[in-house]
């Protein structure tokens, strides 16, 4: 028995070895180093222990709080919107003829395969204050009377970024929902309709529970996606105007690369990591109990 247990252990570790090597080597080890350097005043010329000073400074740093708020806005807005939007699109297109379904699936998946940088640069041009097609279009349609500075106005810039983020993140969820909806047990929905249930009731009572696992999976990947929207910020606004699109991800990069304050950047990284770990843990709990 003990022998079997030992063999199981060894086999387990051998199978784990390759992924563990990469994971520990290039994720966990740097993470540990990040924790260590967060206690140092670490710049291009200096490396001295400062205890919790970086953390203290961070909580007094107004830009950090702004970045934190923006990061949360991005995640809290884009995750549910992406989910609902994709569910809606999927619910329309899954009933169509197969060719049409795949056509629409492709359309919505297009921005994903176009690549984040290519998408970002073209949107930058579309949003351009003077030569952008958006202003021209809105002006011709009489929606706005004079050119809007979409990316240059603190009240619109973040929403522009979220919009672009949405177009690049709905592709996968739509594909997932289409297949989940097509696989909903048909006899149940039919029976319910016969019993006089409305479409809405059929959806919430019967379909929604059945596509729940898909929804949870989508929540996970969309959250990951939203936390990664670095290229958008860097290439479109550099965190401006007036820090209205500043996110923690960009601010870390900024502190490290523009001001060479590696220690301070690391401290922010640690806080971000904690927030995200908590986020993931909650999501995972939810997934567990619901599957349960």
């Amino acid at each position: 028995m003990k022998e079997a247990r030992r063999r199981e252990n060894i086999a387990g570790y051998i199978f784990m070895a390759p992924s563990l090597l990469f994971f520990l080597g290039f994720v966990i080890f740097p993470m540990g180093m990040c924790l260590v350097t967060s206690f140092f005043n670490y710049t291009m010329t200096d490396f001295s222990f400062v205890g919790l000073n970086n953390y203290k400074e961070m909580f007094g740093d107004p830009i950090f709080s702004k970045a934190l708020v923006n990061t949360i806005i991005i995640v809290v807005v884009s995750v549910p919107v992406t989910c609902m939007f994709s569910l809606w699109v999927a619910s329309i297109i899954f009933k169509m003829r197969p060719l049409n379904t795949s056509f629409f699936r492709c359309v919505f998946y297009l921005p994903v395969v176009t690549g984040s940088v290519a998408v970002t640069v073209v949107w930058k041009w579309i949003f351009n204050n003077y030569t952008g097609v958006l202003n021209y279009l809105f002006k011709s349609l009489g929606i706005i009377s004079k050119n809007m500075n979409w990316l240059g106005d603190p009240s619109t810039a973040l929403w522009c970024i979220i919009t672009i983020l949405l177009t690049t993140s709905v592709g996968q969820p739509i594909v997932l929902y289409v297949s989940a909806l097509s696989n909903v047990d048909h006899s149940l929905t039919e029976a319910a309709s016969v019993d006089g249930a409305t479409n809405m009731q059929v959806f919430w009572r019967i379909k929604w529970p059945q596509i729940m696992p898909t929804t949870l999976y989508i929540l996970v990947i969309t959250t990951i996606n939203s936390f990664q929207c670095f290229a958008l910020i860097q290439l479109l606004t550099s965190g401006g105007p007036n820090n209205s699109t500043q996110t923690i991800m960009y601010y870390i990069y900024y502190q490290a690369f523009k001001l060479n304050r590696y220690g301070y950047g690391s401290a922010m990284g640690i806080i971000l990591a904690i927030i995200i770990a908590v986020f993931s843990a909650i999501q995972f709990r939810l997934a567990k109990t619901d599957n349960g």
Binding site: M16, P98, V220, Q228, A273
Partner: protein, 299 residues
């Protein structure tokens, strides 16, 4: 093939695929809601295709046309000047680097994640729960968090400014292991039991029994990793410096310079960077969608 059916793995997938189903449609009459929805859908379609259209047409416009205050919807006097200027730079090298990088990241991830996922799902080794929690917590971690130590580490390993510096952390990212664990859990224990009784060793079991059963999962992961690596601008940005090792995304980003915004050139770069993968996507559309769907089979 038969292995999949035997395992009854994609239990939620086994029902009718939408492609073979036609009876259902007649039920949905053209209600006003449906008409409106479809109209809106068509509007969205335009919205989603437009950026791509704008990239392609923009790449054939001259600087004057691009800067015109009234947008020119279609370049009536197309120019290839933008492409000529683009190819003065090593654009094909960038494209080649990107493909190389994505392929390597994809291959390594699939191998290591398939093994790791299987172990986490089916091997009852000590520390399993702890390791799995670690993977889950790290899953959504943005790479910005560890950028500085990672940079130092790559410098120490003398890998900075090589594609490896991007590949290794991509492979280390825990999502793959997580996904493969979910897949491997669908394998019935009886099959492993049977294999053991037949006297198959660990390696044999993995290659002959597990691999065929999680093949769809590997396909899903392969596509996912490829696209993630393709889009992972950040890691490329901090790890690659030399013109010779740039990727196409970086190349495009670097076409924007401080004292001029040459949209024609940038669009040409964007077209070069996106058209090949779009063509691949359209050709293998079925595999893409199937792969993606597979990923969600286990929530």
């Amino acid at each position: 093939m038969s292995a999949i059916q035997k395992a009854d793995l994609p239990s939620r997938m086994k029902k009718r695929s939408p492609e073979t189903d036609t009876t259902d449609h007649s039920v949905h009459a053209l209600t006003p809601y449906r008409v409106l929805s479809i109209a809106f859908l068509i509007f969205l379609t335009i919205l989603f295709i437009f950026p791509l259209y704008w990239i392609v047409t923009g790449s054939f416009k001259t600087q004057q046309v691009i800067n015109a205050r009234v947008p020119v919807w279609f370049p009536l006097n197309p120019t290839v000047g933008n492409y000529e200027r683009l190819f003065q730079k090593p654009a094909f090298t960038w494209l080649f680097n990107t493909v190389l990088l994505c392929a390597a990241a994809m291959g390594l991830t699939c191998v290591s994640a398939a093994m790791g996922g299987y172990a986490l799902a089916k091997k009852n080794f000590r520390g399993r729960t702890f390791l799995f929690s670690l993977f889950v917590c790290a899953m959504a971690l943005p790479k910005q968090v560890i950028l500085i130590p990672l940079l130092k580490e790559m410098a120490f390993l003398k890998l900075h400014n090589t594609l490896w510096a991007v590949i290794l952390p991509t492979v280390g990212w825990p999502f793959g292991v997580f996904l493969m664990k979910q897949f491997s859990e669908g394998i019935p224990n009886e099959m492993l039991e049977a294999a053991r009784i037949d006297g198959a060793g660990e390696a044999r079991t993995f290659i002959d029994i597990i691999l065929p059963m999680i093949k769809p999962g590997i396909g899903a992961l392969a596509i996912f990793t490829f696209i993630t690596a393709w889009n992972d601008y950040f890691l490329q940005l901090i790890m690659l410096n030399d013109t010779k090792v740039l990727t196409i995304s970086l190349g495009i980003a670097k076409l924007q310079s401080e004292l001029s915004t040459d949209y024609g050139l940038i669009m040409a770069g964007a077209a070069l960077g996106s058209i090949p993968i779009i063509i691949i996507f359209l050709l293998f559309q079925k595999f893409f969608t199937r792969g993606i769907t597979m990923g969600a089979v286990k929530g």
